[in-house]
């Protein structure tokens, strides 16, 4: 080891999680979950938030208040159940536009996914609703997370939405690791770390000559000449 590194603080949380337990989490804590998590992504959001269909689980928040942005590698086991192999989150920023309504409709307090969401989403959408964001680690820890899934409690809209988009309810044990990105004050670990990294970026380009041809994307003005 090059030098001593700090151990990250570990927490274990039972779902549905209480407001007090959630308030204790700090950005950078390592979290493991017990209880039930459910998956929902654009297919489910479209149905419930946009088309206003009823939730397939009555009083969802009393069963689970943790929404996992995930598409499991699952296949029917031939006995009426499912084999869940690996479990990996999908990038969350794409679901930003549904989130406020979704949290209001379901009482969800923990959003789990890949890569976090914009700092504005935390300040304006999650934090005011007492909700936090957990990110998966890696992000390819599919096998570890798959191990934490003990059973498929139920699956909804499977026919209609397919395996990837269906709403799965998983019973989980020691499910993790996750890292706390945003806390109940809306602070973001990714944002803090990103700022530290950004401070060094300009120096990397020092001395490299500019490209012969510019391109759209570097300037947003489509009237610009690219030369």
């Amino acid at each position: 080891m090059a030098e001593e590194r700090h151990e990250l603080r570990q927490r274990r949380l039972t779902l549905p999680a209480s407001a007090e337990a959630i308030a204790e989490l700090e950005p950078g804590n390592v979290v493991y979950l017990d209880g039930v998590v459910y998956t929902a992504r654009e297919g489910v959001y479209q149905k419930v938030v946009v088309e206003r269909e009823a939730l397939p689980v009555a009083d969802l928040a009393s069963v689970s208040n943790a929404n996992f942005h995930c598409s499991p590698a699952a296949a029917p086991d031939g006995k009426g159940g499912y084999n869940v192999g690996g479990v990996t989150a999908t990038a969350s920023f794409r679901f930003s536009k549904y989130l406020a309504d979704w949290l209001d409709l379901t009482g969800t307090k923990i959003v789990i996914g890949k890569g976090g969401m914009g700092a504005g989403d935390y300040k304006e959408v999650l934090a005011p609703r007492g909700a936090i964001y957990l990110t998966t680690v890696g992000y390819g820890t599919g096998a570890l997370l798959g191990r934490g899934v003990k059973a498929v409690e139920s699956v909804h809209w499977l026919e209609e939405l397919g395996i990837a988009q269906a709403m799965w309810l998983f019973r989980v044990k020691n499910f993790g690791p996750f890292l706390v990105d945003s806390d109940t004050a809306g602070n973001s670990l990714f944002q803090r770390q990103g700022e530290l990294v950004n401070a060094g970026i300009e120096a990397l380009y020092a001395g490299l000559k500019p490209p012969a041809l510019r391109r759209y994307g570097e300037t947003d003005d489509r009237r610009d000449e690219l030369l």
Partner: protein, 321 residues
């Protein structure tokens, strides 16, 4: 004569192996990075990944639930003969893909790009991709599968001769920074850089450099090998580690492949092979045996030949593989 069933069975096996067992070279590379990483968060991520690969191998479950886009690279010995011909090989690879998707299980990722329809088996129009290459003085067929993930982490740009090595460094940095933030590329990655060729082949070369060369391998041209080293160090100096946290673990290794290109241009592509660097190779021998390995040995001297003919000495150093 290689039997049709032998192809199907071998392809099914490598689909499983690729999904479950992390290649030794990549594992060794990441373990080496943990020792150097001083960022708390980044090193925690790397250690978790090692735990994850161990869990995958112990439980025989996929290391990552995102199957990526499973595909094949087939290298055919010039003397190889296969029952059912090469269309038969393609059929076997499609069938193995569908079977492995059900059995491993692999997440069915492939959908129609416009209608989003899927067959739940990772097979469809132009899927899985199958790329072919040839090898002189050999009677075997090598089948490699790669499950490359990542919607993120690839870019292409037409540069010009005057842009030089500086230009390549810019594209390299731009790509790693853009997709390294928040770890969207699931770094540390094996980074492949394609330089030259026609535009599509520039992309192909970079992709193959990332996915088909192992950690520790160097380009046989010493000047290109030096560039690979320089780019690797540059990437690890960005200050970004796993998940985009402060750290130094960005590039496990960098591989550059070149192709002769238009006299006025220098196209460059950058590709990142993620934390689930899934690849596995089967060699189908003419006598009916099949042997398995994780090094595809794709870029042979024959592949990189520069003139009309090719170096006639034993180009298939792995012929006994």
């Amino acid at each position: 004569m290689i039997a049709h069933e032998q192809v199907e069975t071998a392809a099914y096996e490598i689909m499983k192996k690729a999904a479950i067992d992390i290649p030794e070279d990549y594992l060794g590379g990441v373990k080496g990075m943990i020792d150097l990483e001083t960022g708390d968060l980044s090193s925690f991520v790397l250690k978790s990944m090692v735990d994850n690969w161990e869990a995958a191998t112990e439980d025989r479950r996929p290391m990552c639930a995102d199957t990526g886009l499973p595909r094949y690279y087939v290298k055919v010995g010039n003397e190889a003969r296969v029952a059912g011909g090469f269309c038969g090989v393609e059929e076997a690879l499609r069938s193995a893909t569908a079977r492995a998707t059900q059995d491993v299980p692999l997440r069915p990722n492939r959908v129609h790009p416009l209608w989003r329809t899927e067959h739940n088996n990772n097979v469809g129009i132009n899927a899985p991709e199958i790329e072919w290459s040839f090898e002189p003085d050999a009677d075997w067929i090598d089948v490699t599968t790669v499950h490359k993930g990542g919607l993120f982490g690839t870019d292409y740009r037409m540069l010009f001769p005057g842009d030089g090595i500086d230009g390549i460094k810019r594209v390299f940095l731009d790509t790693l920074i853009a997709f390294g933030k928040r770890g969207l590329a699931c770094q540390p990655a094996i980074v492949g850089v394609g330089v030259g060729g026609s535009k599509d082949i520039c992309m192909t070369l970079g992709k193959q450099a990332a996915c088909l060369r192992v950690v520790g391998d160097a380009n046989p041209d010493p000047k290109i090998a030096a560039l690979e080293q320089e780019l690797k160090e540059l990437g690890n100096r960005i200050g970004m580690g796993a998940m985009g946290f402060v750290g130094s673990s960005m590039v496990v290794d960098c591989h550059v492949e070149v192709g002769y290109t238009h006299t006025g241009g220098m196209p460059v592509s950058v590709h990142t092979f993620c934390l689930s660097s899934r690849r596995a190779t089967a060699r189908l021998h003419a006598d009916g045996r099949t042997s398995y390995r994780t090094d595809p040995k794709w870029f042979t001297p024959y592949m990189r030949r520069e003139t009309i003919g090719w170096p006639r000495s034993d180009t298939s150093s792995a012929s006994a593989g």
